[in-house]
């Protein structure tokens, strides 16, 4: 950078700061004081938004708060609007292939609630009067197949399963065939939990998707990453790595019925632009709700 450019950049900073300050005085906006600032920072950090996003939101809030006049409400109201704005998306809840089978693959690390979510999704679709099928593609974890079969019995959804240790891709293949034969509207594929750091397991997931795509072009139509709301900053790594291996189409945040706020989705949304499609609020079949940015933002700042 040349000397002149440096000067210019330095002046630019001063200029924008000055403009901001003038605007603040003209609109008679209150200045953000230190305690309000600290409170805001604490609640943002406490909700797992992470330092980068927290800083960004604080800057945005400062901008908005100090220029919109005193009618804009308190700092938290402004912050809530900021978060809501960044989470808003116009993606429909669940994609649908017109007049055919829609394959939805459920992926994620261990213990986030993939099996339960798959069952809940099947229940949701059924309640709308459409038919669903479940594929038990977790052939690794002990009793994972039994778990999804229990759900199948409970919800009266047919389950396609293989044996333990079987190739998950072959189960998926059979499931797609079965779903096509039954003319089902949706197939929910419950995959095994895998750490996003395990290269070979991620490759296995790619294979699973490849096999389904061969059987039915375009499948899986929807790839949903299940995130546990109690997870901290690592959720961003999870989303990044899964998205790299199998392009994701959306997120599901589970276990939001606790005191966890699940704030890391804001960071994920910002970096990867993935819409949050559903949130899980409990252990029952109907505890899956469509995501509402306004509600989510409000809960984020609730005590």
């Amino acid at each position: 950078m040349g000397l002149f450019a440096k000067f210019k950049a330095g002046l630019q900073k001063t200029h924008s700061k000055l403009a901001h300050e003038i605007k603040r005085i003209v609109t008679r906006s209150p200045k953000l004081d230190a305690t309000a600032f600290e409170e805001l920072e604490a609640s943002l950090l406490g909700a797992d938004l992470g330092t980068t996003i927290t800083d960004q939101i604080i800057v945005a809030v400062k901008q908005a708060y100090e220029t919109q006049g005193s009618a804009g409400g308190n700092v938290f109201a402004v912050a809530r609007r900021e978060v809501e704005k960044s989470l808003a998306s116009n993606q429909p809840a669940l994609r649908k292939t017109p007049g055919g089978l829609t394959v939805v693959s459920i992926v994620g690390v261990n213990g986030t609630g993939k099996t339960t979510t798959a069952a809940k999704l099947a229940h949701l679709v059924q309640a709308r009067g459409e038919t669903a099928l479940l594929a038990a593609c977790d052939t690794f974890r002990a009793a994972a197949i039994e778990q999804i079969k229990h759900w199948g019995q409970r919800l009266k959804v047919p389950v396609v399963a293989g044996a333990y240790g079987a190739d998950a891709a072959s189960v998926a293949h059979d499931a797609v065939t079965a779903a096509q034969a039954r003319k089902a509207d949706y197939l929910f594929v419950d995959t095994a939990g895998r750490m996003h750091t395990k290269h070979n397991l991620m490759q296995e997931l790619q294979k699973l998707h490849r096999v389904m795509g061969k059987q039915l072009p375009g499948a899986p139509h929807e790839v949903l990453l299940v995130l546990d709301a109690t997870t901290g900053m690592n959720a961003l790594n999870q989303a990044r790595e899964f998205n790299k291996a199998v392009p994701l189409s959306g997120l599901i945040v589970t276990k939001l019925d606790g005191t966890s706020k699940g704030g890391m989705v804001v960071a994920i949304q910002k970096e990867l632009g993935l819409p949050i499609k559903f949130i899980g609020l409990g252990e029952h079949a109907d505890d899956l709700q469509p995501f509402d940015p306004a509600q989510f933002a409000e809960a984020l700042f609730a005590e």
Partner: protein
């Protein structure tokens, strides 16, 4: 991460040299970096704040030791403080009664059932006779899961399917243990939210009934800010005796461990390192501290290396390298030794900054290249391995055919190897020169 943290600290302290002492003013920027690092590692923000305060009081007024850079000095203070907070030595289970009971509690999906199985395996190896008790009456197939684990481990499991009264199951299990001479019961309870009062009360009643020697909170290492609330509530309700940190095979930095310790004061006793039943270790505070700060797990790597590498071999190899007599045969040996250390992915992730570096690289490809190299060398005669310069076109064609690669690939490998040899020769000369000059630098170059 450590690299970046330490270089950030280095920057923050650049002006400190010559001042002689760490003061409030010159430490504040550095401590802000540390706070950010802790927050990025999911340490609760209140815990991080208290921690920084404590480090500050410790660091203030300390003379900056001339030979050490102040940044490193601060990192050392922080690291030591972290280790102390995380528990100076790993704590073992206190199982004195007969029968002894262990209660596994925690949130949904934290890994209670898997950890129960792993703990059962460990106790069995230590000569105890564990009985796994399926006390999760809510999650579908949770009992099947424990039963399957029991079968894999050849350990008895007490299961009463269809029973929804946990207390009844516990009583039956105690009787079963007595009748079958099992001296340790491990209760795998259902996952529950710490704020779900009826379910927590159920645990309290279970505890009052079985009077466990150990009540262990199972916590996912990737847990965020919530770790504080979870730990506090479970501890208040059940007075836990310790905890198990799971899923440490991921890349979560595990700041939750610090939150957990500082809220409850109870030791972290075990660490779950993977899906397999043997992936279970006593908790090492030292390693965890490095992990939280992003310093990599060099200790574990060295341990693994010590297991896999023979010291005499290593010395012989070093001698050869120095004299520039490194042949393809030695190269093959090295390749194989590296394989023994584990996958490249796991090795690199243990190095400082390795997890960060791993992100962009596809190590599987590198690994494939290594196995190709191995195949190519294996396709050579011993004579060819010792003198690579006798490899003429015919020989090369034969080797390429035999090892399933193209001649070009073989040539690339040989070129790389020749480059390596050159490099080693130069290093050897350089070391000799340094030694003659009486400098200690030669020692630095020599792998110890």
């Amino acid at each position: 991460m450590f690299d970046s943290l330490s270089s950030k600290l280095q920057n923050a302290f650049r002006n400190l040299r010559g001042l002689g002492k760490i003061s409030e003013a010159n430490a504040s920027e550095a401590l802000r970096e540390v706070r950010l690092a802790l927050l990025e590692a999911d340490v609760n923000f209140k815990v991080a704040r208290d921690f920084i305060e404590r480090v500050k009081t410790k660091a203030l007024g300390q003379e900056v030791v001339q030979s050490i850079q102040p940044g490193q000095q601060i990192v050392k203070i922080i690291h030591d403080e972290l280790v102390e907070l995380l528990g100076s030595a790993n704590a073992s289970l206190q199982l004195s009664g007969n029968p002894s009971c262990v209660l596994m509690v925690g949130l949904h999906g934290s890994g209670k059932t898997t950890s129960s199985g792993k703990l059962g395996r460990l106790l069995h190896k230590q000569g105890r006779t564990p009985l796994l008790v399926a006390a999760d009456v809510y999650r579908p197939a949770a009992m099947d899961q424990l039963e399957t684990l029991g079968k894999q481990l050849e350990l008895p499991v007490y299961v009463h399917k269809g029973e929804t009264d946990v207390l009844k199951i516990a009583r039956e299990a105690l009787a079963f243990a007595k009748a079958n001479n099992r001296n340790t019961l491990i209760f795998d309870t259902a996952g529950r939210l710490q704020i779900d009062e009826p379910l927590v009360q159920e645990l309290v009643r279970l505890r009052d009934l079985v009077k466990p020697q150990e009540t262990l909170l199972v916590l996912d290492a990737a847990t965020g800010q919530e770790a504080v609330n979870v730990a506090m509530h479970f501890d208040q309700a059940l007075n836990i005796t310790g905890s198990i940190l799971t899923k440490l095979d991921g890349d979560a930095r595990g700041g939750a461990a610090l939150s957990l310790r500082s809220v409850t004061g109870k030791p972290i006793k075990f660490a779950g390192m993977g899906e397999k039943l043997e992936d279970f270790e006593p908790f090492h505070p030292e390693r965890m501290a490095s992990r939280i700060l992003g310093m990599g797990d060099v200790v574990s790597l060295v341990e693994r290396a010590a297991e896999a590498v023979d010291l005499d071999d290593a010395q012989r190899m070093e001698e050869k390298m120095r004299k520039g007599q490194f042949s393809l045969e030695d190269f093959l040996e090295q390749l194989r030794q590296m394989k023994k250390l584990g996958s490249l992915e796991s090795i690199v992730s243990m190095l400082p900054g390795g997890a960060e570096a791993l992100k962009g690289a596809d190590l599987g490809k590198q690994e494939k290249e290594f196995s190709h190299m191995e195949a190519m060398i294996c396709g050579m005669t011993p004579q060819e391995r010792r003198n690579s310069h006798i490899l003429n076109a015919r020989r090369r064609q034969r080797i390429a055919r035999g090892s399933g690669v193209s001649v070009t690939e073989l040539n690339t490998m040989l070129n790389k190897f020749a480059g390596m040899q050159q490099m080693m020769k130069k290093m050897g000369k350089f070391q000799k020169m340094m030694a003659r000059m009486g400098g200690g630098a030669a020692g630095l170059l020599r792998p110890r």
